[in-house]
Each structure stands twice: as structure tokens, then as C-alpha cells.
Amino acid sequence: MAERSFKKEVKKLHAGAGETFQGEGILAVTKALLQSGVAYVGGYQGSPISHLMDVLADAKDEILDDMGVHFETSASEATAAAMLSASVNYPLRGAVTWKSTVGTNVASDALANLASGGVIGGTVIVIGEDYGEGSSIMQERTHAFAMKSHIWLLDPRPNLPSIVDAVEKSFELSEASNTPVMLQMRVRACHVHGHFTAKDNVKPAFTLTDALENPKRDLSRIVLPPYTFVHEKEKLEQRLPAALQFIKDNRLNEVFEGTRQDVGLVVQGGCYNTVIRALEHLGLADAYGDTEIPLYVLNVAFPLVDDELLDFARDKSALLLIEEGGPEFIEHEINTIFARAGCKTQLQGKALLPRYGEYTCEVIKQGLRQFLQQHTQDLLQDEVALKLVPSKPLAVTALDETVPARPAGFCTGCPERPVFSAIKLLQREQGDFHISCDIGCHLFSILPPFNLGATTMGYGLGGASSSAFNVPSSKPAISIMGDGGFWHNGLTSGIGNSVFNKSDGINLIIDNEYTAATGGQDILSSKASHPERSTNNPISRAVEGVGVKWVRTLTRTYDVAAMKRTLKEAITTKGVGPKVIVAQSECMLNLQRREKRERRQNIQDGKRVVESRFAIDGDTCTGDRACIRLSGCPSLTVKPNPDPWRSDPVSYIDNSCVGCGLCGENVHADILCPSFVKVEVVRNAGWLERQRRQLSQHIIGWLQRRAAKRQELDLLEGVSQ
């Protein structure tokens, strides 16, 4: 079950022609798919398109089934890309989605094959381009993949009407040119809230069942010699010209005329709004985007349309190209186009704009200012780096030393945290190990307070990353994978590989029962039962199936001592091949969501319910915070020391504690302090329990009063006890 439910929002997908659709970018994309008569949809979750997958999953019962649209959550991006092969021989419109560029990397084998043979039905890949602020991946461009495989790349202006239009046009473009199309959505565009005028949804004219019942094949569409060479020729001689014609005929790129004849801007569609805002700041545009400077907006980032570019450049002395990310593919290509055509217009780009990093308003403004100062006689000539923000006053400089960084970390009560507490304790005894990490929530172990792990090479590649260290050593390498990565490819690339190569390493698989980092989607080993999916397929059986002899499954990761013991056992066990430890406890966010509801109901029904949380005795805590360095739980925090003679803050557990028990386990495993206490509150206690409690309270109270009287405790009260 995904973290966020779109059950309410997906009702909007029924909107018919003329209705105003209000909502998030990803919801608009789904609506556009339905308006386009899509027959099948797939994909793999990951920011920023995780929610697109969640919307589709929630839309399945609501509308997709009725519309005859097949949806499935693909096992990986490669699966999703290969799914598009349904459009190779049949007039089926298909769409898949993933996070790029990491997902595109995974999918690239299937993508290259798909692009080589070409498609009959429109195929669209909705790319969540995770570039710039808040990104969690390497900064690369999907553009490179589009170019190398000859897949067309759309980068629409970030407003809902443009995005919806781009989805619809992508299918048509794909069909007109027999080529798959990528539609690039930047992070903020995925989550932008806006509105557009809806059209009716369209059922696919040709269905998957139609295809299965009338199968077709065409040897010339398969990537095998001699057709591979035919494909290459087709790409350049037939599909590219067809695509260019379609782009021109349908005016996919937009020209916004301005009064100036001498200069112009060439802008990636996705950057358009920021460019307009930068022009507004410079006093050259109004709130509606009206500006005297002509703009050519590349809603299609690849391929470029020579005639349109040359037309736009005609009579202008200089153009500024605003192309985010490197290398500057578009700049190279336009320069080639100009050179071949003998166009004398000077193209400026990365010479005036930074070669790397997100093109924020501030960045674009600076580039524009420089460009206009250099290439016009009249614009912004008097301005010397005018800034709206005054130069940093002292008070702001002081912030640099004060404001702490806030790295992402494990949630309150996360079952993964204790696994890393155990490794930290193990390392304290045995020295550090080489640890290969993976992608997923568990990667937060590389950050304080755990500081574990040396590399992360890609999703599901934690096991594979240790493969070089398959040599005799007293300290084997430890590889960490999440359940998400394990099913994505780790079973084969990591575990299978280790078995085959007789590795002696340790594979730790963090099984929180979901792909938690992308929003808690279900996978093969999820515990939840799901009418549409097969879940409850244990990881331990899968690894045994590929030949692992030594498997331990710990079903309560909070048991730090057991985890440490198991790790130790794995380290000392030799000659059995790879050792696999499955650390299995349900993601706390998901668990809480489910339990809270149940608990509330049970309390209402008068059933006995125990609620627990931890607390720390302020009077015995001496403020050494060893507990925090072993946990990092958000609810385990600090507060100023109430004792005027002690300056160090004391540990404190706030109300968000979910009583996971790790604090207590750490006390026991690391011999911490005696300050931790778990408070269990019993709701709807039975008669007997209440009587017993009353009796013991009676005696305890009497003893307490007796001791207090003897020691005159009430007279000794002070600021600190």
C-alpha cells in the first residue's frame, strides 16, 4: 500500500469535454493518457514520478479497467521499456514511466532495441527528470539517451495545458514517425498544481486482446542483421524527416514574437517560466510573459528543426540559448545547423551561462543581463550586476555558522535503524568493515550518526558492488540491499553472482516489506495481500532457490543483540558460499498507518489495548548522548539541561515516539545508561488488572511515603534532584 492515497483525486479522471480539471501535474498526465486512448501503462516508481505510479494504481479500479487500459507495476525500468514492445507489431498506444536518468540507464537495453526496430502504435515514456535542487541522483541528462538511440524528447512548458497537450501530441508524433517518444517532466512540474480544460476519455480502438487473438510478426522489426543496418538507415532517412514534418505541421515548438529584431532567446520548454520571471525581474517582461525579446521555445528538445531555427535566427545578430545541464548538446547541434547553412547569427549559450547546475531565476538573470549588454546597444547598459538582494549583511553571515545542515534520515521507529546500530556496535568490537551500500532508505546509514558504507553503485547493485572483494580475508565485505533493490535486479546481479563465483561475503537484505523509499509500494515479498498481485513470496526462498546455503531471517530487526550475533556468526562462518541475512520488519510509516486505525477502533470497541512509548529519566541522564549516536531517531532528541551545574543538553524523547523498542534494545546491547523507561498505558483494562494495580499502588505508595519521610525529601527539593 502506497504512502499516499489518490483514491479521492482519481475521481477527477472521469472529467469530460469542456470541464475544468484542477490538480497536480502527474494527475494531469494520467488524464492525458486516457484522453489519448492508451491501451496499456506500466512503469517503475521513483521521485518525481512515484506519485504517477500511485495515481495509476489507484485509478485502476476507478477507471482504467473500465476503459480497457491494462496497468501493471513493472519489476524494473527494463521491464517497463520491454513492455513497450507491444506497440512494435500492433497499433496499440502504450505509455510507461520512470525516474531518470537512473531508470533510463536500467531501461537502455530495451530502449535501444525498441528504437532500432521502431513502433507502429504510439509509445510514450514519461520521464521524471530528477535534476537540480532536491535531487537524489547523479546529475546527468536524459537528452543523451534520446540522441544516441534516436528517441524523440519532448520538454513541454511547465503548465498543465502544455503538459497535457504534449502527452497527446507525443502519441501522434510517435505514430507519425514510428519512433518512441520521451516526455520529460522536471521535478517541480510533476508536482505543480494547476488546471486545464478536459476532453473526453477515449477507449483504445485496438485492444491487447485483439492483438493476442490475431498475432503478427515482422522479421524486419527485429534487431538482427541485416535489418539492424536497415533500421539505422530508416531512422535517418524516413523516421527523422517524418518527425520533423510532424513537429513543424503541429507547431510543437512555439515562437513568441517580440518587437526586437536584433536578438532572441532559444529556450528549453521546461525552463520557459523561469526565463520569463528573469525577464520580468530585469524589467523586460510583464506578468503575462509579454516581452519585446522574441522567444523560440523548444518543447521538442530533440530533434531540432533546422528550418524553424534558421527562420528564427534570420536577421538577428545574436541568440542566447538557455539549455540546462551538461554537456551542451543543443548548443553543439544549433552551431552545426548554423554552420552548415552559413547562418551568421552568433549563438551564445554556456559561454554566458554556467556549465553546470540548475538554471534558477538568479542564474538565468545574470546570463541574460550579460547577453543583452553585449549584444544590444540599448538594453540594460547602465546596470552593473543589479541585485535585488542586498549584499550579505553581518547578521546573515552569522547564520552560516549557526544553521545546521539537515540531512535526510530514518523515520521515527524505522526498523532499519537497529540494523545499523548493530553494525556500529560490531565495528566497535572488530574494527571497520568494507560495506557496499545500495539505493533505498537504508542508504541513510552513510550519514551521521551511523557513518557506515563506502559506495553505492545503483539500485539493487549492493551485492554486485562487493564482487571484487571475493578474496580470502578475516574481514569479509558486507553488502547491503533493500527488498526493493533485491527484486529489481539484486537477486541475479548480487546473490546469483556471489553463488556462482563462490563468494564468501555477507549480504544483508533489509526487508521492510515495501519499496519504502519511493513511497511504500508493494513488491513480491510484501506482506500485504493484494487481489491484483502475488505477494508474500519470501526473499529467503528466492535466495535458496539460486543456491545460497546459509540464510538467516530475523523477523524482528529491533533485536539489536540478535542482529549483532547473526552478523558475527556470518563473519566467522567460512566455506559455505555467500551468507544472506534477511532483516525483516515492516516499514514503520506503513505499519503506523494501518495500526492507528485498528487501535482506535479497538479502543472504541472496549478491547484491551496497550499503547507504549519510551521516556528518559531526566534525573539519571547525565547528558552524554551515547544513545543518540547509536540511534538518530527523530523522536530521541535533546533539551537544555535543567541542572544549572550541567551545561550539556540531556536526552529526551518527544511525543512522536512510537514505542518501537530500539532505545531499550540499545541500552541492553551497548550497556548504555539506566535512564530509559518504556511506559505502557493500558486502555480498557479489565477488572482483575485494575484490582491488582490498585493493590500494588497502595503498597508502593506507602513505601514511597515512608522513604520520603525518613529522608525529608520534601525539604530537599531544589532545582535538581
Binding site: 504512502e3 532536491g134 537524489s136 498544481h193 494547476g194 517560466n273 520571471r277 520580468e280 525581474h281 524589467g283 510583464d286 506578468a287 534558477t360 538568479e362 538582494v389 542586498p390 549583511p393 547578521a395 552569522a398 547564520l399 544553521v403 545542515a405 574494527g431 550518526p449 510509516l589 512509548r613 521516556a615 531526566g618 539519571t620 552524554d624 538518530g632 527523530p634 532528541t637 535533546v638 537544555p640 551545574w645 551545561s647 543538553p649 532505545c663 550497556i671 548504555l672 545508561c673 539506566p674 530509559f676 523507561v677 518504556k678 511506559v679 498505558v681 493500558v682 485494575r690 503498597i699 513505601l703 514511597q704 522513604a707 525539604l715 530537599l716 527539593e717 531544589g718 535538581s720 534532584q721
Partner: protein, 533 residues
């Protein structure tokens, strides 16, 4: 310049996971759209859920004329420095970060921030004091914003049984920064449909306090200070001891001395408090003899009392079984004492703690005898969960607590007094040579904290630094070096920094005692291209 476009209001909301930043953004959008404005919001979600901070960015645009065919404004998807009208920060340091990023400018920005803190890992995990100073934020905010509205909205949210987003929304309304009436705000909450009543309560609280004025309007937290303690009981011994303090000590020292006495009476009893006063008299006499200021005596008065009131098993058992502590827990968790509840105490005494509770000679024998150690270890040491609300659990701790009468016979008592006397002897030797250095030596016991392993590490560092102080005696910059060593000891548990600092101070032999860092992985900070060989 057209950036002061008053048709448009740009809003940045910074919030962390669970603070309802998304809900707040939705309320604002709902409110704007219901009154005919065009609203756009966007964010980079994902990390906020996992303790990071997220910026939600909104632009509200008032269409002119209200014609249906009015052109569509181009709205931006991310905030630009100098072009933000309103910054709403759900935590104080996030307000600071917004200022750092240039979102807050004096000509137009209203900054609404909650003054409460969600401490970052770096602040929490530090071995010393690393909490960020809120005053720095208040000052920068006052200087950089047009209006600064700040108060503890988390506390108000709690008091109203709601979440902080509702209080922020109320503060936003109260600030008058948006041109919408209060009813429109409240309607947006009602339209949201979840926890409406609590949200409206929190909204009202936020609204009202936002009208109290600019700047941080929290009532100042009382800073804990040492109060003069007076005894109201009948014990003549205590009265005499306090009277002795009044006559023998200078005015400034009387208050801390009475507090020290209070702590030791609470810890062990009158005889022990007398010992404290005797020790203090010696220190005071030394300092008086030197005609120095009374810094050393002041520091020792506090450190000695804290140290002498050390946390042994008896003390821990006593604190855990007191009524006052029970009441504190009920209050913290928010339950009544008659409600059925259980306190499960997580304890892990080591054989050392067990043996130290025995009479000194017996304890030493146990520790020295393998067989006896093993037996005691099996019987008493190891991980335990004790329920102090059950008779059995309570009684076991209660009986340990009653051993305070025999505390002076325990091994732990003997050990602690030896260490304290050693420290006092060092102070005595040092103060004659270097008063400044002795004042730093007086602070060294701060290193001894915690229990078990943590306590052992603190004790070891304390011992090393005491010996370092002996070595440093006579050096002109001895005090400054010791301060550096003290800071280094608080850098990490592994002691790498302390070892380096000891080496830098020319105390190689002491550095060696810390041992190598045990094969811990080296951290490569920056990758630099290596020249080909």
C-alpha cells in the same frame, strides 16, 4: 523594474516531515481559488518525509478585470531571491535557512516562523554543547524581513490538539499579509475536512498571538540558576552545617554551597555533606592564601558537588522508585496515576556496577576472583527489564535504594573518594603554580558522564587530562593548551582528535595510551587527481 507586481503574491513555505506543509499549501491555494485568484503551488516532496526539509512554493495571482478571456499569467515554479512576499517557516532554523537563501528581503518579505526547535543530528549527537543559538536567527530575521512574526507554534499546536500547520495558517491570517478575510481562511480549513475543530482552535491561537506584535513574542524561558537553599526541618546537624557555611565562606559562595549541601543530603546524608564543606574549606583556604579571585572555589563548589553526588546503582534505584519521578512520568506521557500503566525500566548493570555496590574489600575480591565474578555476573549483572509498577520490580529496586545507609562502605564509594581526592590534590598542587591552569583543571570532571562504557571512557579521558595538566605545569600557555585538550576530548568517542591534540601538545606518551583508532576506515574528504608515477 516590475518585480513588485502587486497582482501577484509569492509565498515560500518551508517545513519538515509531519509538519503538514503540504496541507498548509493546499489551504492557501483553496482559499485563493475560492476567491477568484489564480493559484499555483509546487514542491519537491520525498525528503521531507524523511527528516529533511522541503520548500513548498506558491504564487497567487489576482486576474485583472475578471474577464473570461484574460491572458494567463506565467507563474514561476521556484522562489527567486528578492522576489518573495511571504516566507512561512515551520521551524526556527528553517527560517534561518530561508534567509540564507535570499528569500527574505527587507523591502517586502513578511517572515512567519515558529520559534520551536527540531534539533538536527549534528546538534544532538555532539558530545559537548552544540545547540544552535536562536538569537542569531532572531537578529538576522529582524534585520532582513519587513515584518517578523515568531512564536512557539508547536506548543500552541500541542495545546490545541492539532498540528503546527494550522497554527501557521492562523498566524498568516493574523499577520494580515494576505488580502483575505478571516472567514475565508477558516472556510479553507473546513473545506479540507480533516480534524476541522482542532485545526480551527489552533488557527485561532495562531491568529491571536500573531497580533501581539513583531519579533519573537515568546515569554522568555527561565534559565536554571542556583538558588540559595534553606532548610526548614528539625535536624540540628544540618542547621549547624549551613550556619558554618554562612560564617566561613564569602558571600558569593554561600548560595552554591547550600545547593551543594542540598544535593549531598539528598544523595547520602549529613556526614557526606560535611565532607563536602570540609573539602571546600581547603580549596577556599588555598585560594585565599594566594589572594586570587574566587574562580577556582566557585568552579570546585559546583563540580565537587556534582561529582560527589555520583550516580551509583543505589542512586539510580532511589531516583527510579521515588514518587516524584512517578508523577513526572505520568505527566510526560499525559496519563492519570490511577490509569493502569507499566514502567518498564531498561537496565544493564555490568559486573563492575554489581561489585561496586558491595563492601569495598568484598567487591575487590569479587572483581579479582574469576569464579566469584562469574557467579555474581550470572546472578545480578546483564540486561534486565524491571517493572517498577509491579510489586516485585519495585521492591527489588527499593531495597537497593535503601542501601544508601551503607553507601560509605561500598567499593564505588571508596573508588570515587580516591579519585576525588586525587583531583583535589592535583588542584592543590596546580593552584600554587598556575591559578589559571587550576581553574581549567577544576572543569575536567565534566568529562565524567554516563554509565558503563561511556563512564569508563569519560574517566579515562579525565585521567589523561589530569596527567596532561601535571605535565603542563610551568608552561606559560598551560591553561590554553588544557582547554584545547578538553575540547578535543569532546570531539568523538574514538578519541582520534584527543590523541592528535595530545601529540600537538608534545604529550606523545599520553597519546599512545589512547591506542590506535582500531582499524577504523579513513575518510576521504576530497578527491584530487593523483599525478601519474
Amino acid at each position: 523594474m516590475n518585480t513588485n507586481n502587486r497582482q501577484r503574491i509569492n509565498i515560500a513555505v518551508t517545513a519538515m516531515g509531519g509538519q503538514g506543509g503540504g496541507v498548509l499549501a493546499d489551504w492557501i491555494v483553496g482559499m485563493a481559488e475560492s476567491t477568484g485568484w489564480i493559484a499555483q503551488t509546487t514542491s519537491v516532496p520525498g525528503v521531507a518525509q524523511r527528516t529533511g526539509a522541503t520548500i513548498y512554493y506558491l504564487e497567487l495571482f489576482q486576474p485583472s478585470g475578471g474577464q473570461a478571456d484574460a491572458p494567463t499569467p506565467i507563474l514561476s515554479l521556484s522562489p527567486a531571491g528578492g522576489d518573495v512576499d511571504l516566507v512561512i517557516a515551520a521551524e526556527l532554523m528553517e527560517a534561518g535557512r530561508a534567509i540564507q537563501r535570499g528569500f527574505v528581503t527587507p523591502d517586502r518579505t513578511t517572515l512567519i516562523a515558529s520559534s520551536h526547535r527540531a534539533y538536527a543530528v549534528s546538534e544532538k549527537e555532539s558530545m559537548g554543547y552544540a545547540l544552535a543559538d536562536p538569537e542569531v536567527i532572531h537578529q538576522a530575521a529582524g534585520e532582513m524581513s519587513q515584518r517578523y512574526i515568531c512564536f512557539d507554534m508547536e506548543a500552541q499546536a500541542k495545546a490545541s490538539g492539532s498540528v503546527i500547520s494550522a497554527v501557521l495558517f492562523g498566524a498568516l491570517c493574523g499577520s494580515g499579509a494576505l488580502p483575505f478575510a478571516r472567514e475565508v481562511f477558516e472556510q479553507a480549513i473546513r473545506n479540507g475536512g480533516v480534524g476541522v475543530e482542532a485545526s480551527l482552535r489552533a488557527f485561532a491561537a495562531g491568529h491571536d498571538q500573531a497580533r501581539h506584535g513583531d519579533g519573537c513574542t515568546d515569554s522568555p524561558e527561565p534559565v536554571p540558576t542556583v538558588q540559595k537553599w534553606t532548610y526548614q526541618g528539625a535536624d540540628q546537624g544540618i542547621h549547624q552545617l549551613l550556619a558554618r557555611v554562612e560564617t566561613d565562606f564569602p558571600d558569593g559562595l554561600v548560595t552554591p554551597m547550600t545547593e551543594g549541601i542540598r544535593r549531598l543530603l539528598d544523595h547520602t546524608g549529613l556526614r557526606y555533606a560535611e565532607l563536602y564543606v570540609e573539602r571546600m574549606q581547603q580549596i577556599l583556604a588555598l585560594e585565599q592564601g594566594l589572594d586570587a579571585d574566587k574562580t577556582l572555589s566557585h568552579r570546585v563548589a559546583a563540580r565537587l558537588a556534582v561529582w560527589m553526588a555520583y550516580e551509583d546503582t543505589i542512586r539510580v534505584a532511589e531516583i527510579k522508585t521515588r514518587a516524584r519521578r512517578f508523577d513526572g512520568l505520568y505527566q510526560e506521557v499525559g496519563i492519570q496515576h490511577q490509569q493502569v500503566s507499566y514502567f518498564r525500566e531498561y537496565l544493564h548493570p555490568r559486573i563492575e556496577e554489581v561489585a561496586e555496590t558491595l563492601p569495598a574489600s568484598l567487591g575487590r575480591w569479587v572483581l579479582g576472583n574469576r569464579w566469584a565474578s562469574a557467579l555474581m555476573n550470572r546472578l545480578f549483572a546483564g540486561p534486565k527489564v524491571v517493572s517498577t509498577q509491579s510489586l516485585r520490580g519495585f521492591l527489588s529496586l527499593y531495597l537497593v535504594a535503601r542501601m544508601r545507609r551503607w553507601r560509605h562502605r561500598t567499593l564505588r564509594y571508596t573508588l570515587e573518594q580516591e579519585r576525588i581526592d586525587g583531583w583535589l590534590a592535583l588542584l592543590t598542587a596546580t593552584v600554587r603554580v598556575d591559578h589559571e591552569l587550576s581553574c581549567e583543571v577544576a572543569k575536567l570532571p565534566e568529562l565524567i558522564k554516563g554509565y558503563g562504557r561511556t563512564h569508563a571512557r569519560g574517566l579515562k579521558n579525565f585521567g589523561l587530562l589530569c596527567r596532561a595538566a601535571e605535565h603542563l605545569q610551568g608552561q606559560p600557555d598551560a591553561a590554553a593548551v588544557l582547554v584545547k585538550l578538553h575540547q578535543a576530548a569532546l570531539k568523538s568517542e574514538s578519541g582520534t582528535e584527543l590523541a592528535a591534540a595530545l601529540r600537538a601538545a608534545g604529550l606523545e606518551n599520553l597519546a599512545k595510551e589512547l591506542g590506535s583508532s582500531g582499524g577504523s576506515a579513513g575518510v576521504v574528504q576530497v578527491m584530487e587527481p593523483q599525478p601519474a608515477v
